[in-house]
């Protein structure tokens, strides 16, 4: 698997072919975010945050009531918009969803890994858990922030918080992949709140298994 150098990243950002173009926008300071001789792009903290609040839901169970599933996800969070110049404090052991300032679109032949900056890590901040980004992803990335330290951390939109490592994806013949994935809930997404846990197919199968189990349990 090939990792793109910063020079290769810059070239892909300027690619004239829309389908092959890598988009990381806006890069507020390209030279600072794509440093020569490295192999990553620094990405910044955005303006939108979702704070987990106390809820009336006993547990998050996608099979409990499918009709209210999306509502219940939304009800788990309180949204906060933090503009440039303002800040948000993440307290010890607090869990917060945040977004990248940059909107990202990967072409079909690139995938990426998001890795938190070690400076933040050493201060106790875990930045992301779902770190793999598939080819053709388009949207703002969601950070699952957790302060594992013992000191509150003040976060400012615009701070560089993570790095994006880009890898080329090849097909079975070693050529750049051109496979367009089927539409998923995370294509073109600008919202942090998950829409569903399982795919429709998995949910359907599991629902039948749950029904079978419950029926047998009653016998």
């Amino acid at each position: 698997m090939t990792v793109l150098s910063t020079e290769a990243i810059r070239r892909r950002l300027r690619e004239s072919d829309v389908a092959r173009r890598l988009v990381i926008s806006p890069l507020l300071d390209e030279d600072e975010q794509i440093k020569r001789g490295q192999a990553s792009v620094d990405i910044r903290l955005g303006f939108n945050f979702c704070l987990v609040t106390a809820s009336l839901f006993g547990s998050i169970d996608e099979f409990q009531d499918t009709s209210t599933e999306r509502k219940s996800f939304r009800d788990l969070y309180r949204r906060e918009y933090v503009p440039f110049g303002s800040s948000i404090i993440i307290h010890p052991h607090q869990f917060v969803l945040a977004q990248t300032l940059e909107y990202i679109r990967l072409p079909t032949d690139l995938m990426a890994y998001v890795v938190g900056r070690s400076t933040w890590g050493r201060l106790g901040l875990i930045v992301a858990t779902a770190i793999g980004i598939h080819p053709s992803f388009a949207g703002s990335l969601t950070f699952e922030l957790r302060n594992l330290g013992e000191t509150p951390l003040t976060l400012y939109p615009g701070q560089t918080i993570a790095q994006l490592f880009l890898h080329s994806v090849v097909d079975e013949n070693g050529r750049p992949s051109a496979t367009t994935p089927s539409v998923t809930q995370y294509v073109g997404t600008v919202d942090m709140i998950p829409q569903s846990i399982s795919s429709e197919k998995t949910r359907d199968r599991l629902s039948k298994l749950i029904e079978r189990f419950e029926t047998r349990s009653k016998i």
């Binding site: 806006p26 918009y81 679109r105 388009a138 615009g158 539409v183 073109g188």
Partner: protein, 467 residues
């Protein structure tokens, strides 16, 4: 002091305390775009309450004579009541009610147009875009006005302006181009078309009004002439506001205004305040087809779609003319207004182009960079439109591959959005997952992407302005 007065004092004290608590709560919430307008308005209301509180304190016996105390109490009650009404105006201005992303770009329009009044934006659950203004400087003359009231009044550039947009269920981003029209109302007095060449048209308009009135047994006296002036001025101001919308936003204004009226105003749209909707539409379409290349030429070349009068407003009815219109209006508005409106319609159509020219001349002088051009539309409907169809919001664009990217303006974002909505919505993938029709989900996706574009293009601008 009688027992009733004491009880009234207590009630007033409680009322003022409740109002102060409400202001305190509102000060704690975030207003979109770091808008200082709502905060200045809250300071003003707080000053009114402080003055009311002073009156109430002075009304307490024994230091004040009974008659004087009653007057002071009544004044305190009046100020409380006014503060309560003033508070209503800030309802819907917080970040949970109006999309926070859009306010800062609106403020750039405000600054670009040279509007120095204190202003704020709010949403209301009505199908309405509106500019409201108020001048409350006179409150400074209240006897013993509190220092906080004096300071708050001095801090506001009066008259204070408030732009209302529809509530959440109707706050579709592409429609927000209509706000350019409302800001046009804020500068309408500065646009002075030369109508002297149309003097004979005006004379013949007045003669036709007089004839219609005479046919209905009404003399064309001074009251009627005053009414003609009143309605004419309002209609003229509407053309001015439409022209500001057109020059700031181009085709997106046309699509937004009539897309909005299609949803919420499928009538002739004629009243003493507004000209008929279809005639506004005709005039704007004429503007879109003027020049070479015109906006319409560019739009057709880039999207293979012609901008027609009814492209997104097929159900706005054509307004009848002459006797038919007069008969219909007479039932609703009476013979005088019906005669005036009926005969002003052709006159306003005649002078419409001159008003647009005057607006263009004025805007060319004060904010040439704010004017949207067919050349800009040509650039916007190239790569950025293709990128939006590939789910990349129009945040920034490069003039060429070697150039640094520059932030997209709000007008560009709105035009790219409308072009996608009207000609390429099928290319926006339907992610499913939520109830409703597929086209509604695609529209929602487009709305979200455009909001993101507005948010991040503003971020780029702010970043570059603070080197």
């Amino acid at each position: 002091m009688p027992q009733e007065e004491l009880l009234a004092q207590q009630a007033c004290s409680f009322f003022l305390a409740r109002l102060e608590a409400e202001i305190s709560r509102l000060r704690g919430i975030s207003f979109p775009g770091h808008d200082i307008g709502p905060r200045r308005w809250l300071n003003f209301i707080s000053g009114v309450l402080d003055t009311g509180r002073q009156y109430l304190d002075q009304s307490r016996p024994p230091s004040t004579a009974v008659g004087k105390a009653e007057q002071l109490l009544e004044d305190a009650e009046t100020l409380g009541e006014r503060a309560y009404v003033f508070l209503k105006h800030v309802t819907g201005a917080d970040a949970t009610q109006i999309p926070h992303e859009i306010v800062a770009p609106f403020q750039r329009w405000v600054a670009g147009l040279g509007i120095t009044n204190t202003i704020f934006f709010r949403s209301e659950h009505l199908a309405n875009y509106e500019l409201w203004q108020m001048d409350a400087r006179a409150l400074k003359n209240y006897p013993s006005a509190s220092q906080s009231l004096v300071t708050a009044i001095d801090d506001i550039n009066w008259p204070i302006l408030r732009v209302t947009v529809p509530g959440h269920a109707m706050d579709m981003l592409p429609h927000f181009a209509v706000v350019a029209h409302e800001l046009g109302h804020a500068i309408q007095d500065r646009i002075k078309p030369d109508l002297s060449t149309y003097a004979s048209d005006r004379q013949s308009c007045d003669s036709r009004i007089a004839q219609r009135l005479a046919n209905n047994g009404i003399a064309f006296g001074s009251n009627e002439r005053l009414r003609v002036t009143t309605i004419f001025d309002k209609w003229l101001n509407e053309i001015k506001a439409d022209s500001v919308g057109h020059f700031l936003v181009g085709p997106a204004f046309f699509f937004a205004l009539f897309g909005f009226l299609e949803l919420a105003g499928r009538s002739y749209g004629i009243a003493d305040t507004h000209r008929p909707s279809d005639l506004r539409r005709q005039l704007l379409l004429n503007q879109l087809t003027m020049g070479s290349p015109s906006f319409a030429d560019v739009f057709r070349a880039k999207t293979s779609t012609a901008i027609t009068e009814t492209i997104n407003s097929p159900n706005i009815p054509a307004c009848p003319q002459g006797d038919t219109l007069f008969q219909e209006l007479r039932t609703e508005y009476g013979a005088t207004d019906a005669a005036i409106c009926t005969e002003l319609v052709p006159y306003l159509q005649t002078i419409g182009a001159a008003v647009f020219t005057a607006t263009q001349d004025y805007l060319d002088r004060i904010c040439p960079n704010l004017l949207y051009s067919p050349q800009q539309l040509n650039a916007d409907l190239g790569d950025p439109l293709d990128m939006l169809c590939a789910l990349v919001p129009p945040i920034e664009a490069r003039a060429n591959s070697a150039a640094d990217p520059e932030a997209m303006g709000l007008a560009s974002i709105l035009n790219i959005g409308w072009a996608t909505l009207l000609t390429r919505l099928d290319r926006i993938p339907d992610k499913g997952g939520s109830p409703g029709r597929s086209d509604a989900r695609r529209f929602d996706q487009l709305h979200q992407l455009l909001l993101k574009a507005v948010e991040l293009s503003e971020a780029r601008l702010l970043w570059s302005e603070h080197k």
